[in-house]
Amino acid sequence: MDSFFIRYRNLLVLLAILVAQIVGLAVQVRRPADSRGSLDPKDSSGVRLIRLWAESLVSPAEQGIHYSKLGLEGMWLNYLNLRHVREQNQDLQKTIGRLQLEQAALLEDARQGQRLQALLDFQQKYIYATLPAQAIGSSGSDQSRVFYLDKGSSDGLKPDMAVITADGIVGKVRDVFPRTAQVLVINDQTSGAGVILETTRIRGILRGDAAGHLEIVGILADQRIQPGEKVLTAGGDLIFPRGLPVGVVEKVVRDPDRDSFIDIIVKPAAHIDRLDEVLVVTSTEPRFSPQEQQDLATSENLKGAEAEAIKEQAKASQIMAERLPGLIDPNLPPDQQPLLDTSNPNPVAHPPAALHPDRFSPGVPAQAAPDTQGSSKPAEPATSPREKQDVAPVGKNGAIAPGTGPKPASKPAHPPKPVRNP
């Protein structure tokens, strides 16, 4: 028996190690019910321990190499930049002055937007705190699209925080170690983000395919979606704040599994293959300085006082309306309206009757006034063609023919010009 183990010890060791790893794989694979070719991203404690060991072993050296590279680059760039530093400094001073003015204006806009948001009870999230971090290493495998940051839990990073650049979103923090963090890039197969198309407002889920392309899956075929349309975060995934740029639509292809659906291939806005500096969104809750909070409180108080004043004014108007006599009471029959009440000590004043009624007097039907001065012939009305249109034909009894009179104009009717006889 001993000779068997000695003779086949190499194979036995190989088999033992292979079996142990296969069993370990089987334990790790917990496929979610709704997954499509992906694994459960959560690690067990044992696997996380192995990852922690590997990260602790590799990250210090990676950081050393990365910062050495940055130092050398900095030395070289500093040497090059010294040549025109004075002119650049003057330009920058001017730029700072201009940006300070712009910042003041933008801060005012932001405060106004915040007040409006609070008034309308929007639940939209904004970025209020970010932490800059350096990408120091990758997984080393082109099938695992993750990279490592030089900031970890000691810097306040937590899993599921969004990672962005000025160009667009990059990914989310997948795992956090004391001094480093692992970021899952958005073009990985296990990644996902809620997005919305800027123009058509179509929502979808962004994910990476096996080749590392970004695609929005599960979209009903829509011919409005055209290449070049911007894609933004929708904010519904509780990871990425709303409105961040994701990329642009590169092309639209048919979903190979479902006929009426399409996949949208997206060109990422951020350079996710070459990342050096990124921003980790550490807070999406409002955080204002004490001065800004005081300003907001003052603004809210002013708005409250204004609303109270309007309410008081409306109440006073209602009381006055109740005290004043009404001209028309909807609850009374027409013959008992207050307007006809003779017992009213302050009756409504009617205009006095005209001594010489003419066509302008109230109650006199409009008609062309005959010219009584001059010849007995009826005078031709010396009116313009426009005025001719406004003058209605008059019947024998002086009534205006129905349907032929001037239309009730929205503007006040002008009195016809007096007839001038030569």
Binding site: L25, Q28, R36, S38, I50, E62, G137, S139, G140, Q189
Partner: protein, 173 residues
């Protein structure tokens, strides 16, 4: 006559290195494998841990040591990714075992043979990786044969430079 036996010949040809080399070279391979793809982007067609595994397995000529080393390197690679731990581990375990087993029977001083072996074992490692990923785990994997071929060529080029350098670090009596 026993000094001319197979065991004696193998013992004479076993390469020995300082302990620091055993510790630092694999570590350097893991660090560079994690760092260089950031610099080279999608053109990082190499697998330094595999090259180091093949080198030590061929030099040490011990299948058990080759198996253990390949397993450790693969597991560390897996641990740095977000995939299940063991995918690379299984592939490199097999590669380490085969390299050490072949090393017993061939002349490891010949550079051409070592580089050819490196090329073939790189292809074998890629095939095992694809097998585990697609068949064993049933996951989607964008697999291009020419990418794996380029990776094997890249490993051979690295081996062409790295093997002579590492040969200088061995302990000579």
């Amino acid at each position: 006559m026993s000094v001319l036996g197979a065991n004696f010949r193998r013992d004479m040809e076993i390469r020995r290195y300082p302990v620091l080399v055993y510790a630092l070279v694999p570590l350097a391979a893991l660090v560079l494998q994690a760092w260089l793809p950031r610099v080279l982007g999608p053109y990082a067609w190499f697998d330094l841990p595999l090259v180091v595994t093949v080198y030590f397995a061929l030099g040490r000529r011990s299948p058990i040591q080759g198996t253990i080393m390949g397993s450790a390197m693969g597991l560390f690679e897996d641990a740095l990714s977000h995939h299940a731990v063991g995918i690379n581990g299984i592939g490199k375990t097999v590669v380490g075992f085969i390299a050490a087993s072949v090393g017993v029977r061939i002349d490891v001083e010949n550079h051409t043979i070592r580089i050819m072996l490196n090329f073939l074992l790189s292809l074998l490692s890629s095939a095992i990786y694809v097998f585990i990923y697609r068949i064993l785990l049933g996951l989607d994997l964008e697999w291009r044969w020419f990418t794996e071929l380029f990776r094997a060529v890249g490993n051979s080029l690295f081996a062409l430079v790295l093997f002579p350098l590492l040969d200088r670090l061995q302990i000579r009596d």
